[in-house]
């Protein structure tokens, strides 16, 4: 049972057919004037139109990037001017933190979060630019983007974890999304630059490229963009029904996992992403529990240090004051069933007890 859609969602069936057809017909350079080029350009324009409609934004606010990370870099750094102060929540995705670290002229100011992972809005005040995620990618807690926008500074919103699953929050100046997290193919990101204030402020932080869209670089991934748009339309059309089902399943997991002794369920129980739930077991090694679940057919992620590429624990869990070891993040597919989730909840107490017994606790 695949439980890691927050890392990457399987390709949506609506995207698969579109992708194959667009690969066949959308190969040409959309800037040229011949027939195949006009076809590619038409497909690209359709992708932009469909994406704008699904997100409730204007067509000229949408750009397709080569990844969600690329959209984050462009969306955030394009709002900054040399030497400025950027305030961000302590639980932003590493793409935001790395982008700021890459620009030594900028002063990055990290704002603390509460025990649920929600930023203190006042701590974002007094900056030239604010970077705030729509929802946290590890624990699911939604962030007060609209309140942060009232501070007056332009706001970059990393919406990668939430796009398609929830409406865009109010108040973004620029925003970023990642298609493979909603069921589109990998290699497609969405950069939004708000008409008016956003356009006046935003400058490309990277070299110009003489392509169809001046906000991005590189040859257009026409098929990927169109397939991503098809997946996004489908996901948004199904959103209310899917989210209601996923919320009920997450509530079930939270309730059952909390019964296991010395366990911490983290993130906001209500004001959160519908498909994601995170918890940590005291005395349990994160890698060991991921392995044990994998052997039983449950594929999950973990924010514990021993499962990461570095020896550092999750900066998200650390900033929340949550336990960083023994961490499990579940994120549900669109069609996850109660029986599957119950099956996971049935095996967890035994696995945790076994792993604790191995260390004499």
């Amino acid at each position: 049972m695949y439980l890691d859609t927050a890392s990457s969602e399987p390709l949506h069936p609506a995207a698969r057919e579109v992708l194959l057809a667009a690969l066949e017909h959308g190969y040409a350079d959309p800037r040229r004037l011949h027939g195949p080029a006009r076809t590619a350009r038409l497909l690209l324009d359709n992708a932009r139109e469909a994406t704008a409609e699904a997100l409730g934004v204007r067509r000229d606010e949408v750009s397709f990037t080569s990844s969600g990370t690329d959209a984050v870099h462009r969306g955030l750094l394009g709002l900054t001017r040399p030497g400025q102060v950027v305030a961000h929540s302590a639980v932003e995705h590493s793409a935001v933190l790395h982008a700021l670290a890459w620009r030594p002229d900028l002063t990055a100011r990290s704002a603390p979060v509460d025990r649920l992972g929600r930023v203190e809005v006042a701590a974002l005040g007094g900056a030239d630019v604010v970077a705030l995620q729509a929802a946290n990618h590890e624990v699911g807690t939604l962030q007060p983007v609209a309140a942060a926008a009232e501070l007056g500074a332009p706001v970059f919103v990393d919406a990668c974890a939430a796009m398609g699953r929830l409406p865009l929050p109010e108040g973004w100046t620029t925003a970023a999304g990642s298609a493979h997290k909603w069921g589109g193919p990998a290699g497609v990101g969405v950069l939004l630059v708000r008409a008016g204030a956003g356009r006046a402020r935003w400058r490309s932080p990277f070299p110009a490229d003489d392509r169809v869209d001046e906000r991005v670089g590189g040859f257009e991934n026409v098929a990927g963009a169109l397939a991503s748009a098809a997946a996004l339309q489908a996901v948004v059309a199904e959103r209310d029904e899917t989210a209601a089902r996923q919320r009920a399943l997450v509530d079930l997991v939270r309730e059952r996992v909390a019964r296991i002794p010395d366990t911490e369920v983290v993130g906001d129980p209500d004001d959160r992403l519908p498909h994601l739930v995170t918890f940590s077991f005291l005395y349990v090694d994160g890698e060991a529990i991921v392995d044990a679940l994998n052997r039983r057919g449950f594929e999950v992620a973990s924010g514990s240090a021993c499962t990461a590429s570095t020896l550092e624990p999750s900066h998200v869990l650390a900033a929340m004051g949550a336990l960083t070891h023994g961490n499990v993040r579940l994120s549900l597919t669109r069609d996850a069933t109660e029986a599957e989730v119950e099956a996971l909840c049935d095996v967890l107490p035994g696995i945790v007890a076994e792993l604790r017994a191995e260390v004499g606790l």
């Binding site: 020896l311 624990p313 949550a322 260390v359």
Partner: protein, 83 residues
């Protein structure tokens, strides 16, 4: 906080070079060896201990007193047994 805990350290656990969650496991195993109200110190070089020792205190009903340095400069986390 300076080198001396308020009441002195009743027990110091050497968890240098142990990876998470080992330092917290050692803490759980040995906290019962000191009387309630006394201080246990965990010397740990693993980065997760800085977050996980306070989280353990919160979850198990003990008081996290803060961090100082062991003689060799390794981080030392101080816990008061409350339960």
């Amino acid at each position: 906080m300076t080198g001396d805990a308020p009441r002195g350290v009743a027990l110091e656990l050497d968890c240098r070079a142990m990876l998470c969650p080992r330092p917290v496991i050692e803490l759980a195993r040995h906290v019962g060896e000191v009387p309630v109200g006394e201080v246990v110190a965990v010397v740990a070089t693993d980065a997760a201990a800085r977050h996980d020792v306070p989280a353990w205190c919160r979850m198990r009903g003990h008081t996290y007193l803060g961090e100082d340095l062991a003689e060799d400069g390794a981080p030392r986390y101080l816990v008061r047994r409350d339960a």
